[in-house]
């Protein structure tokens, strides 16, 4: 497509933007009039009318798209011909997995797995071990990378953040300076973060220069962070920790400052030491903030996109799920398969969130809830 010039690309969108605005206004007026004609009280009619913009967007961009995605996951669709119903085939392909027993460490996993299956996970027991493989190995490798990344980086980031938040809560001077400083990485555009860290982790990059005494001391070669399968995950986790620990600590600090001082005084009167205060006052009072961070952190980590778009990884490592699904849909044009993958991802996110919510009643303490019960 040739470039029609800046103004001619902005103007049509601007006009449609204004038309949509007017359209929403008209719909709202109609909804209000209809409700009043049906005898709804003014207050209720107004309230409902005001949320109409969200309801329209919700129906079109959430309900409809999720339904369509579910339907597409049972089809084969390449954008050029109509979607073809294939039933559970996409899911069957994805779950076409196999396992085998290895007699020795040297034995190749392809010998014991089914044809066209490749290794995903290997568990070594004594001389031999077990190996699990799958036909859609790219998907399962990405699943492995994404899950490991989330399960390691989120709790690690949360503990680190808790430590820093506790430090900042020690009546330090220049508190606002520290807070502004630590939150900076979260401001940096994800695209810039990805490029910057790819450069820092490159063969002649700053990370290898700074750690040269270590790897040279062991007599190793310079680490190739994103081509060595063993090093990619640690590198990604380091990037993630740099990006989130400061932001999390600022959020946790806000939670810490919300804890009433009287609680600590009461605990001190009861003879509590610093550990007892931390264990029985700080942690319970902070648990809603920890919980919030855990939920949002996990959902966010499972959906990493920009890092994968800018940093290539070897096939043995896989890439992040979100990026893999994007590739499957828009580069390979397998819309059906991509939708099936997206649905598996959705179910995993829902299951994890449900798990965190279910467990929360055991460890999250809501002050208000306790008062209501009493």
């Amino acid at each position: 497509m040739t470039d029609p010039g800046a103004l001619n690309t902005y103007l049509p969108t601007l006009i449609r933007y204004l038309l949509v605005m007017i359209g929403i206004g008209v719909i709202m007026v109609v909804v209000y009039r209809v409700q009043r004609a049906l005898g709804v009280k003014q207050e209720a009619a107004t309230g409902r009318t005001l949320v109409v913009p969200w309801i329209i967007g919700f129906v079109i961009f959430t309900v409809f798209t999720i339904g369509a995605s579910f339907y597409l996951s049972f089809t084969e669709y390449n954008l050029f011909s109509a979607p073809e119903w294939v039933g559970l085939e996409n899911y069957q392909d994805l779950f076409d997995v196999s396992a085998g027993t290895l007699e020795s460490r040297e034995q190749r996993s392809t010998d014991v797995l089914e044809r066209r299956h490749q290794e995903i996970v290997r568990v070594e027991v004594g001389g031999g071990g077990f190996v699990f493989g799958a036909r859609e190995h790219a998907f399962w490798r990405s699943m492995r990378l994404t899950l490991l990344y989330s399960f390691i980086s989120v709790p690690l980031g949360l503990f680190g953040a808790l430590g820093v938040a506790l430090l900042l809560n020690q009546k330090v001077r220049f508190l606002s300076f520290w807070r502004v400083l630590y939150y900076m990485p979260a401001i940096l555009p994800a695209v810039a973060t990805a490029l910057l860290w790819r450069w820092m982790f490159s063969q002649n990059g700053i990370i290898n220069s700074l750690t040269a005494p270590i790897w040279q001391g062991f007599g190793w070669e310079a680490p190739r962070w994103f081509t060595d399968p063993a090093l990619a995950l640690p590198a990604f986790i380091i990037i993630s920790l740099w990006g989130i620990f400061g932001a999390n600590s600022v959020i946790l600090l806000a939670g810490l400052k919300g804890i009433p001082q009287e609680l600590y005084e009461a605990a001190a009167i009861d003879g509590a030491g610093s550990w007892a205060k931390f264990r029985h006052v700080t942690i319970p009072m902070l648990s809603p903030a920890l919980f919030y961070n855990l939920v949002t952190g996990t959902i966010g980590a499972l959906q990493v996109f920009e890092i994968a778009a800018f940093i290539q990884t070897p096939a043995a490592v896989g890439t992040f799920l979100n990026w893999l699904i994007y590739q499957e849909a828009f580069n390979l044009r397998n819309m059906g398969m991509a939708s099936a993958m997206a649905w598996i991802m959705l179910l995993i996110i829902l299951a994890l969130t449900a798990l965190i919510f279910r467990s929360s009643s055991a460890w999250v303490f809501y002050q208000g809830a306790r008062e209501e019960a009493a």
């Binding site: 470039d3 798209t65 430090l167 919030y292 979100n322 997206a342």
Partner: protein, 305 residues
């Protein structure tokens, strides 16, 4: 930097300094750890800026040198000349213009719709309100990738692929549940007597919203404005899906375009980092100016649970 003034009303800052056994071991350890964390945070930023000012032969020396010698600020101009030579039409002004066009329209839509929807969710009693609000919050959990394929198909049917439409006016439908949530929390804290008094004086809903609510919610609107500006300025997942003509690209996509077209030769990190710095600079400036709004916006979820 306006670092110290903004949080001057912080409780901790106004408290008397800790007892004057001044620098005991405990405090030294605390400050040492804070400084170490600060260095870890800062080094990548400094490296980004330092790299952007270097000549190619300073890049791969294997030594850690933060001060470029000689420093070449011309990199910031050359990078755009290079980009323009790869694809004529991708000028600095055009790409910045594209980015601002998307950002401003989406930001306005987000703030405007979030304030109206939150108003409806907070200041009026109606059946089904709390259920709908819970559903709205639950949509936060839906990964974007699930709706991406059908979303793409909708815009394809409408013939609006490779336009800015998918990135701008859907914001008018309150697509950010988090902003509605923040706004609603704020609305709930406004005393109800204000509206009752205005209603008795004969004001209608639009007048109450415009003359009473809007001035009151200005602080949270500002907080949402900075978060939304940052979110849309940094957006990569939307543009990569919908835009295909390089001249239409916002900064994030232009960076990827530049990266990909250079990947055949050796990556020219001084240009890449110059571009990254340029993309980060407005956001960082905005952050330093509006840190209070930024930190309020992100902290509210933690405090309110």
């Amino acid at each position: 930097m306006t670092v110290d003034t903004t949080f001057a009303n912080d409780r901790l800052l106004n408290e008397p300094a800790p007892p004057q056994r001044a620098f005991n071991i405990r405090q030294i350890i605390i400050y040492a750890m804070l400084i170490i964390c600060g260095i870890i945070v800062l080094v990548p930023f400094l490296w980004m800026i330092s790299t952007s000012l270097k000549t190619p032969d300073q890049l791969f020396t294997g030594e850690v040198n933060f001060i470029p010698d000689p420093a070449v600020p011309q990199n910031y101009i050359t990078v755009w000349e290079r980009l323009n030579s790869i694809k004529p039409g991708m000028t600095f002004l055009r790409i910045i213009g594209n980015t601002l066009f998307i950002t401003v329209l989406a930001m306005f839509g987000e703030i405007f719709s979030a304030s109206i929807v939150a108003y409806g969710f907070s200041r009026f009693q109606w059946k089904g309100r709390d259920l709908l609000f819970a559903i709205m919050l639950a949509t936060i959990m839906i990964p974007g990738i699930v709706t991406r394929v059908p979303g793409f198909l909708i815009w394809r049917e409408l013939g609006l692929l490779n336009t800015y439409d998918p990135l701008t006016w859907p914001a008018l439908f309150a697509w950010g549940p988090l902003y509605v949530f923040l706004m609603r929390q704020f609305f709930l804290s406004i005393p109800r007597e204000l509206e009752e008094a205005a209603t008795i004086d004969g004001a209608n809903v639009i007048q109450i919203y415009w003359y009473i609510m809007l001035p009151l919610i200005r602080p949270v609107m500002l907080a949402i404005a900075v978060l939304s500006f940052q979110g849309n300025w940094n957006n990569f997942q939307g543009p990569i899906l919908y835009l295909s003509t390089p001249e239409f690209f916002p900064l994030a996509l232009a960076m990827r375009f530049f990266d990909q077209s250079l990947s055949l030769e050796a990556p020219q990190w001084q240009y890449m980092m110059a571009m990254a710095t340029m993309m980060a600079a407005p956001i960082l400036v905005l952050y330093f100016l509006a840190q209070k709004q930024f930190l309020e916006g992100i902290s509210i979820g933690a405090v309110k649970g």
